[in-house]
């Protein structure tokens, strides 16, 4: 695997992968390190970090353990990031592949729909969706995925446009392959690398979107997410700033890790584009 070797040659990409592993490890070990409900009251409210050995990162305004919430929040962020990205990329590939392969009026219709989604600020659309369908974890995740698909769709379409007239696709057609076989078997595997790389951007944005919702108290209040914690900390921001800052750092690290991995994948999959 040349791509794998190239990936591990870049220190930034390796650092990103390690950070991502740390976040994943936090999500996995949360139940084992903090067997109690992270949203249960644990001690005195607003304890500063390092002041009590039982709460290394302190407690929030209602006396819940911040460290426990950070560990459980990793689960929520990764879950929302992963599932929303999968939804966005799946819709994007579907729309982009059909628009790019068939062209003509199909392309026109699909691209006008894509543009309609793109011209609306996606956070505004997300607010509308959450306001209409409620703010449970499921609806928030699906809503984030639904507002993020236009960019991957355009990217897939561009790849398909350039690949569909290549000689190997024509060769497949002369062999008698059906359109669906050409799309899935011949073109898609060649169109995938840039879309996979772009998925890391979608994932980072999805995590940020959920945090922004939570900051406005519009995300699911019954789960321990980093965004919820930031939202809570907003009330005591001037004095007990650490309540917002600690989950903020967690989000920063996660988004950074995802972006570094994405950049590393990009360089590994498209070695010729790598700037010297």
């Amino acid at each position: 695997m040349d791509a794998l070797k190239r990936y591990f040659r870049s220190p930034a990409a390796v650092a990103g992968l390690i950070l991502l592993m740390v976040v994943i490890a936090m999500a996995i070990s949360a139940g084992w390190l903090y067997p109690r409900d992270p949203l249960a009251l644990a001690g005195r409210p607003l304890l500063w970090p390092f002041s009590n050995p039982r709460f290394p990162l302190g407690t929030d305004n209602s006396g819940r353990d911040i460290a426990a919430q950070i560990f459980y929040g990793a689960r929520i962020s990764l879950l929302i990031g992963g599932v929303a990205t999968a939804i966005a990329i799946a819709i994007g590939i579907l729309v982009g592949a059909f628009a790019g392969y068939y062209g003509g009026w199909i392309d026109n219709v699909l691209m006008r729909i894509t543009e309609a989604f793109q011209t609306l600020p996606n956070f505004l659309l997300l607010l509308v969706l959450v306001a209409v369908f409620g703010s449970t974890l499921t609806t928030v995740t699906i809503a984030v995925g639904v507002v993020s698909w236009p960019a991957p769709a355009r990217l897939t379409r561009a790849e398909f446009l350039s690949l569909r007239n290549r000689e190997f696709v024509q060769a497949g057609r002369t062999l008698g392959l059906r359109d669906l076989q050409l799309i899935l078997g011949e073109i898609l595997p060649n169109a995938l690398p840039p879309v996979v790389v772009y998925a890391s951007v979608v994932m980072a944005v999805a995590i940020l979107l959920e945090s922004a919702l939570a900051f406005l108290h519009l995300s699911d209040p019954n789960v321990a997410s980093w965004g919820n914690l930031i939202g809570l900390g907003r009330d005591v921001l001037r004095v007990q700033w650490y309540v917002s800052a600690i989950p903020g750092v967690a989000i920063l690290v996660t988004v950074l890790a995802v972006s570094l991995v994405g950049q590393g994948l990009n360089d590994a999959l498209n070695p010729r584009l790598k700037s010297r």
Binding site: E167, F168, Q170, A171, T174, G176, L177, R178, E186, N190
Partner: protein, 541 residues
């Protein structure tokens, strides 16, 4: 030599670790004298372009000159500073490239780009520069030099662009002109004109020319002296006449032998039964315009009627834009023809629905031009070949086993089926493409320029393979090509296409022996090294 303009002494150029060999050039020595054309000949990968770039010091950073000297005007270019090189480039040595479209800036006019040579290297006034540019463009015989100076690159034809490049290269009367395959991307009639132009200008200006090419026909046309390179080593050099008529090194002999002679083989008896009949096939493209008004209409194929007897090979010859590829794609229905009938085995292919075409497609298969683009890079070779039979209902394991047998048939190692396309050379990939087309056991094979992207020696091998398969499997072939020499080798019948229409067709030996249409005559007269080849054939016969 006292009057040598450029002399390369013991030059070695090192390639980065992981390249296919350690040195691109190994101990190369040669010299170019004033007023001579030195041809450097070699196949792809022989290091001839690396040499040109080494002289100009334009090598990529990871490729570096290891030892040796490049002496130009009593100074060593290997040791020159960047500022000194800037003075040499353009003024002392200039260069023309293979693809004039990419070598010119698309956003600036031709006159502007030629004039830049003067504004960078001299103190001439704007008006003087304009006058000089017009003189130069007239010198390279561009029709309407004033108009050409105002034109952008895309508004000129390929030949005119190459003329503009030559004008730019000769602007400052360089001592040495390096021409890196300057006619490879051009049509044969344009190529003949450009070669003549280079020859004339060189005579008039006493410029030394280092001419890089892979084509011995071009060498015979233009060279005073020849240097033959193989894998970075000079294997032979000497006066053109001597090297061409008495090649010493085995590789030179092999290269010259691989150049197809322009003589049709003795005609084979043809079956009276026709397998493929085209009648009145037309395809018109419309672009732009609103609701049909002001649209640009291009007739790519105009009323083509041809027959292919069973077991025969029909060559369709034409220059770029003649519509020959469109015709090939109409025959296999990659493009839907507007009018006409394509009769194969009692069925009209032109009128079939796409669903029926998909089902019947095993009767007619296609081989593509570009061995790099025509294979899906993410499938293994055996899978690529087995794909067709699998689609038409053969069980996978059986199809893969069949594919391995086909590998042996086209001269590949059956064990190579587990490798990906990028692990094969160009010639080997073209064999995979051929195996893929043959896997469905077609009656008719449409080959669209199947050997144009290959080196001459590989070209000869693939053509030999096609001829063998034709005899072995009773294939009928439609062979699209721009190269008359290739057509002469393999085709029983030829049809010459120009601007979408067939201007002349008939048995190969008749069309090539006594061409009737002026365009066919012009094509035949433009083949580089035609005289040399005729002598060789006469001597051999």
């Amino acid at each position: 030599m006292s009057d040598s303009v450029l002399s390369i002494e013991d030059l070695s150029v090192r390639l980065p670790v992981g390249a296919d060999r350690a040195r691109a050039l190994a101990n190369v020595s040669l010299s170019v004298s004033a007023n001579e054309i030195l041809c450097v000949v070699g196949e792809s990968g022989s290091g001839k372009s690396v040499m040109a770039n080494a002289i100009m010091r334009l090598l990529p950073p990871e490729v570096r000159i290891e030892t040796g000297h490049i002496m130009f005007e009593r100074s060593d270019l290997c040791a020159a500073s960047l500022a000194e090189m800037r003075h040499v480039r353009g003024k002392g040595i200039s260069m023309i490239f293979q693809e004039p479209m990419t070598a010119l800036n698309p956003l600036r006019t031709i006159g502007d780009q030629v004039g830049e040579m003067f504004s960078v290297h001299t103190d001439l006034s704007k008006a003087d520069i304009q006058k000089k540019v017009k003189g130069l463009l007239a010198d390279v015989r561009i029709p309407d030099p004033d108009g050409a100076a105002r034109a952008y690159p895309h508004e000129l034809s390929g030949g005119q662009r190459q003329r503009a490049m030559i004008a730019m290269a000769l602007a400052l009367d360089p001592k040495l002109l390096i021409a890196d395959e300057p006619t490879t991307a051009l049509d044969v009639t344009t190529q003949a004109q450009i070669l003549k132009l280079i020859r004339d200008l060189q005579r008039r200006r006493n410029t030394a020319v280092l001419f890089i090419t892979h084509d011995f026909g071009v060498v015979a046309e233009i060279a005073d002296r020849v240097v033959v390179m193989q894998r970075g080593v000079v294997v032979e050099q000497g006066p053109a006449a001597a090297v061409l008529s008495h090649p010493q090194h085995a590789y030179t002999r092999q290269l010259i032998a691989a150049v197809p002679p322009l003589q049709a083989p003795p005609p084979r008896p043809l079956a009276s039964e026709n397998i493929l009949t085209l009648s009145g096939v037309s395809k018109t493209y419309r672009s732009g315009g609103f609701l049909g008004r002001g649209a640009r209409v291009t007739a790519a194929v105009k009323d083509v009627s041809l027959v292919l007897p069973k077991g025969a090979t029909l060559g369709i010859i034409g220059e770029s834009g003649s519509g020959k590829s469109t015709l090939a794609r109409c025959i296999v229905r990659l493009i839907d023809p507007d009018q006409g009938a394509i009769m194969l085995d009692g069925k009209n292919w032109a009128a079939m629905s796409h669903r029926d075409v998909r089902r019947e497609t095993r009767h007619i298969q296609m081989v593509f031009q570009d061995p790099f683009a025509s294979l899906n890079p993410r499938r293994k070779a055996a899978e690529l070949v087995a794909q067709g039979p699998i689609v038409h209902g053969m069980p996978r394991a059986e199809a893969i086993a069949e594919a391995r047998k086909l590998f042996a048939l086209v001269g590949l190692d059956p064990a190579a089926g587990d490798r990906f396309p990028h692990e094969f050379s160009g010639g080997q990939r073209q064999r995979i493409g051929l195996a893929r087309a043959l896997a469905l056991k077609p009656d008719v094979l449409v080959a669209d320029e199947p050997v144009s992207a290959l080196d001459v020696s590989v070209q000869a091998q693939v053509l030999r393979l096609l001829a063998e398969l034709r005899a072995q499997l009773g294939l009928s072939i439609v062979f699209i090509t721009h190269d008359l020499r290739v057509a002469a080798q393999i085709c029983d019948l030829v049809a010459v296409m120009k601007d979408g229409a067939i201007v002349e067709h008939g048995p190969t030996h008749e069309v090539f022996g006594s061409p009737r249409h002026p365009y066919t005559q012009a094509l035949l007269a433009s083949i580089p090294g035609g005289d040399f080849m005729r002598h060789r054939v006469a001597a051999g016969a």
